[in-house]
C-alpha cells in the first residue's frame, strides 16, 4: 500500500521529462488522413441535378439553386454536420469530402457556399505538417 502511494511520484517525474505529444495547431498541423471528413466539395461538371443529396441531407444544409442554366446544390457549412450521407448517395460521384475544417466566419451568411464557391477545392495546407505515424516514431509510443 505504501508502495502504491510512492510509485506515482517516480512515474510523475519520469513523465515530466518525456517528450510532449502536443501539436501546436495553427503553426503546425496534422496531415489529414485518407478518409478525413472535412467540408464537402462539388464537381459541377459531373453533377446531374438529381436532388438526391438535397433529399437525404438530415440538416437541410444543401439547397438547389439555379447556376449557369442548371440546378446545382448550394451548401451551408453552418448547418452541415459532416455526416458523409450526400457523398454516399450521389449517383454521379460529384460530391467528395475534403480536409477543410476551419469554418469560422463573422456572419451567418458567410457559411453559405454558392455553387462556384462550393466547387472550389480548398487551398492546400501551406504550413508545416506532421503525420501521426511520424509523431509515434519520434515519441516511441503508439496512440491507444
Amino acid at each position: 500500500m505504501i508502495l502504491d502511494i510512492i510509485r506515482p511520484f517516480f512515474l510523475g517525474f519520469y513523465h515530466a521529462f518525456k517528450r510532449t505529444f502536443t501539436v501546436k495547431h495553427p503553426f503546425v498541423r496534422l496531415t489529414p488522413t485518407e478518409r478525413y471528413r472535412g467540408r464537402v466539395v462539388l464537381n459541377i461538371d459531373r453533377c446531374i441535378s438529381c436532388r438526391s443529396c438535397v433529399n437525404i441531407c438530415p440538416n437541410k444544409a444543401l439547397e438547389m439553386v439555379k447556376f449557369e442554366k442548371k440546378l446545382i446544390p448550394q451548401y451551408d457549412a453552418g448547418r452541415c454536420c459532416l455526416c458523409n450521407l450526400c457523398v454516399e448517395v450521389c449517383p454521379a460521384i460529384a460530391l467528395s469530402m475534403s480536409y477543410e475544417v476551419e469554418f469560422s466566419e463573422y456572419a451567418r451568411k458567410g457559411f453559405i457556399h454558392t455553387p462556384d464557391r462550393f466547387s472550389q477545392t480548398p487551398k492546400p495546407i501551406a504550413e508545416k505538417t506532421v503525420t501521426v505515424k511520424i509523431l509515434d516514431k519520434k515519441r516511441g509510443v503508439a496512440h491507444r
Partner: protein, 349 residues
C-alpha cells in the same frame, strides 16, 4: 527616532514588511508557483502548458500575470440572494489571514544573533496554528453567504475536512514541541543545528505533510473544490478581482505551510555557507537554504495534483482518524522513549 526605532532598524523593518517575508515575497512565490504548477502538471500529462506570454520564448513565464490582469478587469457579480457584506468581505479576509502567517516565521539568522522575522514572539508556533485554524471559518462564511447550493456544499465539505486534518497536525506539532522544549519557531530551528528533526521524526514529517496537503485542499484532498461534483466548491460564485484574491490566498497559504514545515522539520535556514552570498551578507546564505527547502516541499505538494485521484470525504475522514492520528501518537511515544539518545543531540535547549 521614529516609532522608537533608529534609522537602520526602520530600514530593516520596511525591508522585512515590504520585500522579503512581507508583501513582495508571497506574491512572487504565488506567481512562480502558479506558473510552475501549470507547466509541470502539463509535462506530467505530456502536454506543453503555457507558451506565448513573457520574456523568454516558449516558456509562458508571465501567464499568471496575464491571468491576473484579465481577472481584475472583469465585472464583480454579487448574487441576488447573497449576504452582501459577508460575501464581499470574505475574499479580503481570506487573503489577509493567509498572508498574516508569514509574519511570524523566522527566515534567517542575523549576524547579531537576532532573527529575520517581521514580528518576533516566543509563542509563534501557537499563533500560526491559530491562523491556520481560522481559514475554514472564512470558507464556511463565504460558502454560506453566496447562497448557492454548490458553495454551501463546498463549505460544508471544507468544514468536515477540518475534522480530519486538524488533530493530526496538532499531535505531530506536539512531538516537535516535546523535542525542542519551546513554542518559539526560531528556537526550534536552533535546536536542529546539529541534526534536522526529519531524521528523528520521519513519521511525524509524513503525517504533517499529508495533513497540510489536506489543509491546503491540494489534489488528493481537494474535496471542497471537486470540479466534477460541486463546480468549484465554496468560491463558485466569485468573479473577477474577488476570485483572483481567493486564488492568491491559496498560494499564500502554500507559502506559509511550506515555510512552516521547513522550519519544523528541515532545519530552517541551517546549511553550509554559500561563498558568494555569504560575502554580501550571511542572511542571504540562510535565505537561500530556506528557499531551496521550500522549493522541494512545494514540488512534492504540487505533484499530488498530477498523480493522484481525489479521495471521497469519508475516505479522508477515515484516513485522518484511523491512520494519521495513531501514527502521530506513535511518533510522540517513540520520541518520549528515545529521549536519552536525542537529548544530547538537540542543541541550544
Amino acid at each position: 527616532m521614529i516609532l522608537g526605532l533608529s534609522f537602520p532598524q526602520l530600514i530593516e523593518l520596511i525591508l522585512k514588511v515590504l520585500i522579503f517575508p512581507g508583501l513582495a515575497f508571497p506574491l512572487l512565490f504565488a506567481m512562480i508557483v502558479i506558473w510552475f504548477e501549470r507547466k509541470f502538471l502539463a509535462r506530467i500529462m505530456l502536454r506543453i502548458g503555457p507558451l506565448h506570454v513573457g520574456p523568454i520564448n516558449r516558456t509562458g513565464l508571465f501567464q499568471p500575470i496575464a491571468d491576473f490582469l484579465k481577472l481584475i478587469q472583469k465585472e464583480i457579480i454579487v448574487p441576488d440572494n447573497a449576504n452582501k457584506f459577508l460575501y464581499n468581505i470574505a475574499p479580503i479576509i481570506a487573503a489577509l489571514v493567509a498572508s498574516l502567517s508569514v509574519a511570524f516565521i523566522p527566515y534567517a539568522l542575523k549576524p547579531d544573533g537576532s532573527y529575520w522575522v517581521i514580528y518576533y514572539t516566543p509563542l509563534s508556533l501557537l499563533v500560526i496554528l491559530a491562523i491556520f485554524t481560522a481559514r475554514p471559518f472564512i470558507m464556511v462564511a463565504a460558502g454560506w453567504a453566496s447562497n448557492s447550493k454548490y458553495c454551501t456544499i463546498g463549505a460544508i465539505r471544507a468544514a468536515l475536512q477540518l475534522l480530519a486534518y486538524e488533530v493530526p497536525i496538532a499531535l505531530s506539532l506536539a512531538s516537535i514541541v516535546i523535542m525542542s522544549g519551546t513554542f518559539d519557531l526560531a528556537k526550534i530551528v536552533e535546536a536542529q543545528s546539529s541534526i534536522w528533526f526529519i531524521i528523528f521524526q520521519p513519521i511525524g514529517f509524513i503525517v504533517i505533510l499529508i495533513a497540510m496537503m489536506a489543509e491546503l485542499s491540494r489534489r488528493p484532498f481537494d474535496i471542497p473544490f471537486a470540479e466534477q461534483e460541486v463546480v468549484f466548491g465554496w468560491p463558485t460564485e466569485y468573479t473577477g478581482a474577488q476570485f483572483a484574491l481567493i486564488m492568491v490566498s491559496e498560494y499564500f497559504d502554500l507559502c506559509a505551510v511550506t515555510s512552516l514545515i521547513t522550519v519544523l522539520f528541515l532545519g530552517g535556514w541551517s546549511g553550509p555557507a554559500i561563498p558568494l552570498l555569504n560575502d554580501i551578507s550571511p542572511i542571504l546564505s540562510g535565505i537561500f537554504w530556506f528557499l531551496l527547502k521550500m522549493a522541494i516541499l512545494t514540488v512534492i505538494i504540487i505533484m499530488g495534483r498530477g498523480i493522484y485521484p481525489r479521495l471521497r470525504i469519508d475516505q479522508l475522514l477515515d484516513a485522518g482518524w484511523s491512520v494519521l492520528i495513531p501514527l502521530a501518537i506513535t511518533q510522540i511515544i517513540i520520541t518520549l522513549l528515545t529521549a536519552q539518545w536525542w537529548l544530547p543531540l538537540v542543541g541550544g535547549v
